[in-house]
């Protein structure tokens, strides 16, 4: 029995438009024109207990809408969703006891209170026993080092400190599933490591299912076994990370040319290029042009001093997905 089961999930929003000015306002009182936005279409998703899923897609692809339906914030327009046997929307409070959430910019903590007090409040809300509470706080402190700022009000914390607290807070009641939305955004490498460590531990040691939405390649590579890709409301890929890279045929070649100015390559199959630190990064589709063919053309036209062919890598794939959607423009 899967932990999360979504069948034919659909969410449509109505965006009302209104003409400008007084005339438009009066008109809108009588009838309103609207546009239907299909945020999520026909989504089928099954997640087993203990999995760590990366949920990726360009902005507007429907990621947060899906998560909001899974957490009970939004009601689906049609289709069913079941989380641990419960309907998250109609059985919201019951479902909420078994989930943890980190919503990127929105904090689950109390702004003016010391961290300590926020956790005490959460302890009450999620009915964590005194014993469990103490045990877990000590354990989380080990990895996340919360005691450094335990008595500080949340508003005085740095982004990294706040995120560590948010994560600890999300896992405090050891829910069955935790939804993380951009947990490492804007953080420096050291903090990211620590956070990933923590998430890994929670997933492997406590069998807590994690659904992670992120732009960060490091997050994806380090944490996720399974990737689900969303584009324009539809699921376009659901499987292992390695296979994803295979499927996306974009590859990157990095060149050191004598004269970067005026570098322009018009070869079929080249998806684009950009200048980075004096080196040029060419992205190409290996199905259309092979690396060796491309190289030959470049050597013909430019004085290439050095080059590097990047291994099929997730960064290019993710970049492409986030910038262009699955089909690209």
């Amino acid at each position: 029995m899967s932990l999360i089961k979504a069948e034919n999930l659909k969410k449509t929003f109505r965006i009302y438009s209104r003409d400008e000015g007084i005339r438009g306002y009066l008109k809108s009182l009588v009838s309103r024109e609207y546009e239907e936005v299909h945020a999520v279409e026909d989504l089928n998703l099954e997640i087993e207990e203990g999995e760590m899923i990366g949920y990726i897609g360009s902005n507007g692809a429907g990621k947060s809408t899906t998560v909001k339906m899974l957490t009970g914030i939004l009601e689906p327009s049609s289709g069913t969703v079941e989380v641990d046997g419960l309907d998250p929307h109609s059985q919201r409070k019951k479902n909420a006891m078994h989930i943890g959430v980190v919503f990127g910019q929105k904090s689950q903590l109390w702004w003016d209170l010391p961290v300590r007090e926020s956790f005490k409040l959460l302890k009450e809300i999620y009915e964590v026993s005194d014993e469990d509470y103490q045990k877990r706080i000590d354990e989380y402190d080990e990895v996340l080092q919360l005691s450094d700022f335990w008595d500080q009000p949340v508003r005085k914390l740095s982004l990294g400190q706040k995120m560590r607290c948010e994560l600890a807070a999300a896992f405090l009641h050891q829910p069955k599933i935790v939804y993380l939305d951009e947990p490492t955004i804007g953080l420096d490498v050291a903090v990211k490591e620590r956070i990933r460590d923590f998430i890994k531990r929670m997933n492997r040691e406590k069998n807590i299912t994690v659904m992670l939405t992120t732009h960060d390649i490091g997050d994806i590579e380090d944490l996720c076994d399974r990737i689900v890709v969303l584009d324009e409301g539809r699921k376009i890929y659901d499987g292992e990370l390695s296979s994803l890279v295979d499927r996306f045929t974009s590859r990157r070649m990095i060149l050191d040319v004598r004269d970067e100015e005026g570098f322009d390559i018009q070869v079929e199959g080249v998806e684009g290029f950009e200048s980075n630190d004096g080196r040029i990064e060419v992205t190409f589709d290996r199905d259309v042009v092979s690396a060796s063919d491309l190289m030959r053309q470049l050597l013909d036209e430019y004085e290439v001093l050095d080059f590097e062919l990047k291994e099929p890598d997730i960064e290019a794939v993710v970049k492409k997905i986030y910038n262009q959607g699955i089909d690209g423009e």
Partner: protein, 266 residues
């Protein structure tokens, strides 16, 4: 038990709120001062009116003070604990902050109420209680009677919720209009109607005050009970039921709005 948990948590919220309160001392002092000034102006208005007449529709000055005080007590108690809902549109819907509340295993409306305590109304509450005491003294009315206690306590609780129903219903419009604070100004003005005898109003206004904006049940009718003005027996007793009834209706409206809520962002 669900209720016990909610109460316990509210207690903690409240305690925490007070701790942060001390940080914003000037805010509190200034706001309390302006609220007291407002109350003083209303009383001054009442006093000035009585330089023109000896009674309004048969109501004497002490009776008017009593009426103002009674309505004021239930309103102040409401405002201290439940006024925060008026910020629904601006502080929770537009910001998408309501999402945070929806993922917690607690009632959402409860969380909004618990997020703030408008303690600047507390000095007003004390003043209104003093006003009732003073007015009773002036009239030789003994309030400490068993039947008054039997009626008074439930009607007080009910009155707070009657006020609550009006503010909740209007604030819930925030789900459709994304703003709620300006709409509540109209309710504030309507709340002023509680200070005057029912009989001065036209028929249509009277109907509104017992149906759409049932504030008469939270001020006027209870006051007539204590003042021995038994003209409206049914209405006086219904005042005890008015709170739960109207609040229940308002709550249904709130729920409708909440399910329609789609947070901002994609």
């Amino acid at each position: 038990m669900k209720l016990k948990k909610h109460l316990k948590i509210y207690g903690k919220y409240f305690k925490q709120y007070w701790k942060t309160r001390l940080v914003y001392k000037t805010d509190f002092l200034l706001n309390s001062l302006s609220q007291m000034l407002n109350l003083a102006t209303s009383l001054a208005f009442l006093t000035l009116i009585f330089t023109q007449v000896d009674s309004i529709n048969g109501w004497t000055f002490p009776e008017m003070l009593f009426l103002a005080g009674v309505g004021g007590i239930s309103m102040n108690i409401h405002h201290i604990f439940m006024l925060h809902i008026t910020n629904l549109g601006e502080d929770y819907i537009v910001t998408g902050d309501l999402d945070r509340f929806k993922v917690r295993p607690l009632n959402v409306l409860y969380q909004v109420y618990a997020s703030n305590v408008r303690d600047e109304n507390f000095p007003k509450l004390i003043t209104n209680i003093a006003l009732v005491a003073y007015a009773s003294g002036q009239m030789g009315l003994n309030l400490v009677r068993p039947e008054f206690l039997l009626y008074g306590v439930p009607v007080l609780v009910s009155s707070v919720f009657t006020f609550g129903s009006v503010y909740l219903a209007v604030s819930s419009l925030g789900f459709w209009m994304a703003r709620s604070r300006p709409l509540t100004w109209i309710v504030f003005r309507l709340s002023d109607f509680r200070r005057y005898p029912f009989s001065i109003y036209s028929r249509s206004v009277k109907i509104i005050l017992v149906t759409l904006v049932p504030l008469a049940f939270a001020s006027f009718f209870p006051a007539t009970f204590f003042l021995d003005r038994f003209e409206n027996g049914f209405y006086q007793y219904f005042s005890i039921a008015a709170g739960p009834v109207f609040y229940g209706l308002a709550y249904l409206f709130w729920k409708k709005g909440l399910s329609k809520y789609t947070s901002t962002g994609s």
